[in-house]
């Protein structure tokens, strides 16, 4: 008699573990994805920072390779930033901004034009400041369960002096 009651209970509870596991799985995966996404965002932000830093440093030390050609220099700096971005900035040239400043007049950036003489009136002349930035990069979580969430907007900026 006891065996029969136990047997009926077992039959009634059959499959409940699968349901419990499925319910728990949502929670566990949710937390797992959240942890991975936090790490992903930190990685993304660190990459953007490294990229602009590398771009600014590249700009500071290679201007002589682009004597009188600041426009070409901008393209090369953008390519350098992209190269160091682990693919985050591939095809996103429009987000990468390069500005040069006269250190005695830092209120407005210098005009970038190829009609100039290096170290006389070129924006990328020695002693000027260069600012490389990635503006409003939309960083999206790597893993999301229900819908495409709104992105986090990251901005990274670096300044250096032209050598």
């Amino acid at each position: 008699m006891v065996r029969n009651t136990a047997g009926r209970r077992k039959a009634r509870e059959r499959g409940s573990e699968v349901i419990e596991f499925t319910l728990m799985l949502f929670g566990i995966l949710g937390f797992l994805f959240l942890t991975i996404d936090i790490a992903w965002m930190v990685f993304c932000r660190a990459n953007l920072q490294t990229s602009v830093r590398e771009g600014a440093r590249y700009a500071a030390v290679t201007a002589r390779d682009f004597k009188g050609k600041p426009v070409e220099n901008v393209t090369a700096i953008q390519a350098r930033v992209q190269q160091f971005s682990f693919g985050f900035l591939t095809g996103k040239n429009a987000l990468i901004t390069v500005n040069w400043y006269d250190p005695k007049h830092t209120s407005t950036p210098l005009t970038v034009s190829d009609a100039c003489t290096f170290n006389v009136d070129c924006a990328n002349g020695t002693g000027n400041l260069v600012e490389v930035s990635v503006e409003n990069y939309p960083a999206r979580p790597l893993l999301y369960v229900f819908h495409d969430p709104k992105p986090f907007w990251f901005t990274a900026r670096s300044l250096d002096r032209m050598e």
Partner: protein
């Protein structure tokens, strides 16, 4: 309900609650430290860039006579915009200090002046500027603040004093004599090589060995406020020091 089922009733809830004690703080800690890590990286970047520009000769004073300094400050504020660094106020503070080591060579300018070179063999402040919220850190970790305002001009440079002795006029920067401009003894980021007479040690070509005493070094301290999140993070902020 059987006896076994009754005795196990609620066990799952208790187990869940017990495991929650571990993973809920773990998850919250991951969130808090993740956000803090991003801010720390930004703070290091800002401090390093500012130091580089400061060492390159840019000035950041609040002097109305130096209008470009205001735009320089605005440039730095934009650099730290994501950390809410502002030219005054905001959530960040950058303390820029030019420091010098006073060797016997600097003190020789006071020979026969009757003035004692009290800061011989000491690190001193030669210039000071701040950007941001000065209430965030009322004192630099390396100087005794507040330093006498009379020791600085409006550009933040240490002023000079003049004395006449035996018909000869001596002009010297007050950091040679003012004890208040001395760095704390805890400053140990640079070691100085001097010869037995207190002069900078030089090599066979008369070039200084290591840091040349009397020349400027640029010390930048950056401090940023963090949002408190007890018990993981209380009121501790981010603090970065760079030396160029």
């Amino acid at each position: 309900m059987s006896k076994t089922n009754r005795t196990e009733s609620g066990v799952a809830t208790i187990e869940f609650a017990l495991t929650s004690l571990l993973w809920v703080p773990l998850l919250l800690g991951t969130l808090v430290y993740g956000a803090e890590l991003i801010r720390a990286m930004q703070a290091v970047q800002v401090a390093r860039d500012v130091s580089n520009l400061y060492a390159g000769g840019m000035t950041f004073s609040t002097s109305p006579n130096l209008p470009n300094d205001a735009t320089n400050r605005a440039l730095i504020a934009r650099l730290g915009k994501e950390l809410n660094l502002q030219t005054s106020g905001g959530s960040g503070l950058i303390i820029l200090t030019t420091i010098k080591f006073i060797s016997q060579r600097e003190c020789d300018t006071l020979t026969s002046s009757g003035v004692t070179c009290t800061n011989l063999a000491k690190w001193v402040v030669a210039q000071r500027s701040t950007i941001g919220d000065t209430s965030l850190m009322t004192s630099s970790r390396f100087t005794t603040d507040p330093m006498p305002a009379a020791d600085f001009d409006d550009g933040g440079n240490v002023v000079s004093a003049t004395i006449t002795n035996a018909g000869v006029t001596y002009t010297y920067p007050v950091y040679l004599t003012d004890n208040a401009l001395k760095l704390k003894s805890t400053f140990n980021l640079l070691t100085i090589a001097t010869d037995g007479s207190g002069y900078p040690l030089v090599d066979a070509n008369k070039l200084p060995v290591g840091y040349g005493a009397g020349t400027s070094a640029y010390l930048v301290e950056a401090s940023f406020r963090s949002t408190p999140f007890p018990p993981f993070r209380n009121n501790a902020g981010i603090y970065v020091v760079t030396l160029f």
